[in-house]
Symmetry: C2
Subunit: 118 residues, 2 copies
Amino acid sequence: MLLTVDPTSEVPLFAQLAAAVRAEAAAGRIHAGDRLPAAREVAAGLAVNVHTVLRAYQDLRDEGLVDLRRGRGAVLTAQAATLEDLRTDIDGLVARARAAGIHPDALAALVKEIARDR
Amino acid sequence: MLLTVDPTSEVPLFAQLAAAVRAEAAAGRIHAGDRLPAAREVAAGLAVNVHTVLRAYQDLRDEGLVDLRRGRGAVLTAQAATLEDLRTDIDGLVARARAAGIHPDALAALVKEIARDR
DNA sequence: CTAATTGTTCTATTTGCGCTAGAATAAGTG
DNA sequence: CACTTATTCTAGCGCAAATAGAACAATTAG
């Protein structure tokens, strides 16, 4: 699995990392039961601090996407499959929004807003 | 139109404001041609700085949702109707995600990620 | 059982962004 | 014209992101 990060982005590094993992799961490139690379490993590979990676992993745990245990690492839960199922729907929505000239960030913010007050 | 803001949220105020406007447009409570309340007015009503409101308005302009001109204020573009059209699709996606136990923020981040690298 | 791996927790420091504040300026309205 | 409204600048404050180092606890591997 290839995690990348853009240090110049206004999006926090830990958020980028978490987003990358979600995307990998949704794309079916990683699956339930798979183990994410160790935080220290990712940190070294991306020239990023360990705490930053762990923050991302902890957020994913809070969402229920990974199980996080000492000595064992971060293991994907069954929710990975759920994300993969949603991917088709998301692709469709993104395609329609793109065709309509809606900015990606605006679409995401709108989804967040609508999902929030339900 | 009723704009609100949560000062305790970790989401920046300007982002909350922009999100609120998008949501109003998507819900069909404001339409193309409608004028948003003046920045100073919103700022006073919400106990927020004018610059913060203007930052939100400028973001919306960059997205193409409003026309922003001195002396005239912020006027909704035709994109408001587009957002309203997308709302049904978003509602559906949100409902499915909710049923699957996906966290709203995670869904929004996933949409953003998928929309980004297309 | 021992050693290595891996996340957890703690303290500390630096940096950038959000937000506020005030003022001057320019464009549009009535 | 007076008035409204966004635009652009400077300045400062506070907080969260990110870095760094260390000690600790749970799990795995040998």
